[in-house]
Amino acid sequence: MNGVWVALSETVSAPLYRPLVVVIGLELIAIQMQIFWLLWKTVVTRARLRETRRFRTEMGDPLGEALASADPVALAACTRRARTYAPEAVQAHLESLMELSVGNTNALLVEMYGELGYTRAAMKATRSWRVSNRIRALRRLSLVARSGEAELLSKMGSVHEHIVRLLVAQIMAKAGTPEQLFSVLRDLERPRRIMDQPFAAILATASRTHIEFLIARLEELADPSVRRLVLEVSARVTPAACARVLPEAARHPHKELRIGACQAAAMLGFPSLVPLMTTALGDPESEVRGQAAKALGRLQCEESIESLAAALGDPAFWVRQNAAASLAALGAPGHLRLEEIARTGTDRFAADSARQELRRQSLLTSGIGVAA
């Protein structure tokens, strides 16, 4: 045994092996720490889940009854009892309920959340040096923030990471003033097209007043993509404000604005927008032409038949496809034109697009005799 130990000591003390042994030792320590950390997290998570379940079992019904009756005494009693549970469990429970509810119930839950000190804690966490802490805090605040918190948070908009600013914008749309929302959105960029969805979701929660304010100061928003999204939402929320800026947007040098104008025109659906969309069919950008072709189908005016028929020969496939679908959407006259192009069109692209659309229509509807 002694001999083995001596041999091992000699090997380790050899200059070649010493660093290797140190590395192996450190790795073993790191693996052990990771295992310990995972075990610790499991224990903590299980304990938290157990506590959350206990809170739900013991407090679910009293809290539900207090919310249903909106009785301040019962709610105060619930708040007192909630203090005796682990804050994480109570917080998780209240947040789940708040995510599902709006109106008076939501207001009572927000009040209770605030009385338990969670709103204050979340506000404090927004100043944390760790981004993950700030993000978590802002997500919580997006459920509970009111004008007071919005006022404080609006100052964060220009100094932090993109995701943080996006979360602040979300809070401003719900709880801030139109000016506060504008101040956050003014310099905010939409880095990729995939980020359209969160922006659209934020704008969808804003009121008419907010959107009207944004439309009035549309040119001051730095990112053209954000402007496009505002334009799209305004067509659904404040059509009058949207219609006012639409002609200018349709002529804007940036293509995002021109795309937005076409999408907004489709949403508005006024026949008077046909000339604007017909002009957009001649745009140098295929995305704009495609959206214009789509919009003409929604506007439902037979006077756009010839423009759409001409767009069937567009070099971009997407434009041809949209033009064919829009012709079909115009009813019998559009169908006639598609049939004519499919039969006698000299442009192979146009004839193919017409045939494809007619085939698609014949699959969708039975009993319409269409030339395939």
Partner: protein, 430 residues
Amino acid sequence: MSAPHPNQELLERSPPAPGPQAADGAADAFTTSAERVFLCASPTTLRGAVTQGGSIERFVDIERLAAAMRGQPPPRGLIIVPGDGVPPAADSLSALRQATPVGDVAVVVVTPVLDIAEQIELLKLGATRLVSPETPWEMVAALALAPAQRPAENSSKVVFLFDSDEVLRLRIRADLKRHGIVGFGYEDLPSLLSGPEHDPDLIILGRDGRGSVDWDLLRRLRQRRALRTLPVLMLLDGVDHDAQALAFQHGADDFLLLPLATEDLVARIGYQIDARRAARGVPSPAPAVPAPAVVSSPLPPIATPSSSARRHILIADDDPYVAELLKHRMKNEGWQVTATRDGEEAERLIDVGDVDVILLDLNLPHRSGFDILHALRRRSPRLSTKLVVLSSINREETVQTAFSLDADDFIPKPFNPEMVVSRIRRLLKR
């Protein structure tokens, strides 16, 4: 109070070519078609067409046309050109309607530009398209050969819309028009209350000139005998939850939220009008969406709840917090509440029967909400239980699909629990 002619754009574009020459064109238009079309017009109008032949059959009066309709297989379409022996459009359509059912045949009436009330009248009498005498015959032929986009009930839906935002009114009217619903927009209260003679099927109330909801207007509308039982939909800001809660308290039947989703708008309007017609004994049109393909094996008919029993509400949602938010409010109403988090379990509970209202989430384990809706739709007799979809997937197509599968309401998440209870209370009263 006049609206543009349905083919206004066409009229402006088309060169005037009325009279016998037009009939020549008509014959040309039909010779290439294998479909039969019946044309009812004066002998003068028909002169050119008679010599041309083709698949068109001509009649100089409504009686002969009706006799042919009864004695032969129905044509693809009818064209009626009133004047010079053929009675005015409304009289012609009435006479035809009395003589024979028109069924699915497209009815194109060639008539000068009419005001909106007359247009509605003709659509109610069975016309599918109204075109001006200047319309080229090729176009008239195409319309007569196109599938009849009646359906009569849908095209006769008339909606009054009140909102101070003119562009919003125009936008909603355009949406409604696309779905065969006639909309009239009003800017202010006096013009709405002194509206035209024809009755609306529904009223949409939006904001007044100050940009706020005028609850007093709703009260005053309800005081008018003619409008008392009309469905009223409030047009509200999507973020104004207080106004949404007030809407039901003030007697509104439903509300539309801004930003507006077209399918939601049309579905809710259609539902309210159909429900009112059903209550008045007026037959409703066939469902807009055909019965779905077979989803599973046929299910047995289910027991229907008795009206005198304690109301039973089934909450089927995989999120336990939904039941937590709702069950106490429902119990306060005196309703019995059962909650389940599983689709199969929900279906089993429905099979057992005695459920008055099902609050159905779309994302359920084992069997989705749509699967359950499909299955319930295929039952015979049809389910008397009210179906309310409660979902966070509130995209336009989801709402449309839910309504087309006979859902009675669609409530998006997050929801106002008071509102859910109010909606269920209203459904139970029907």
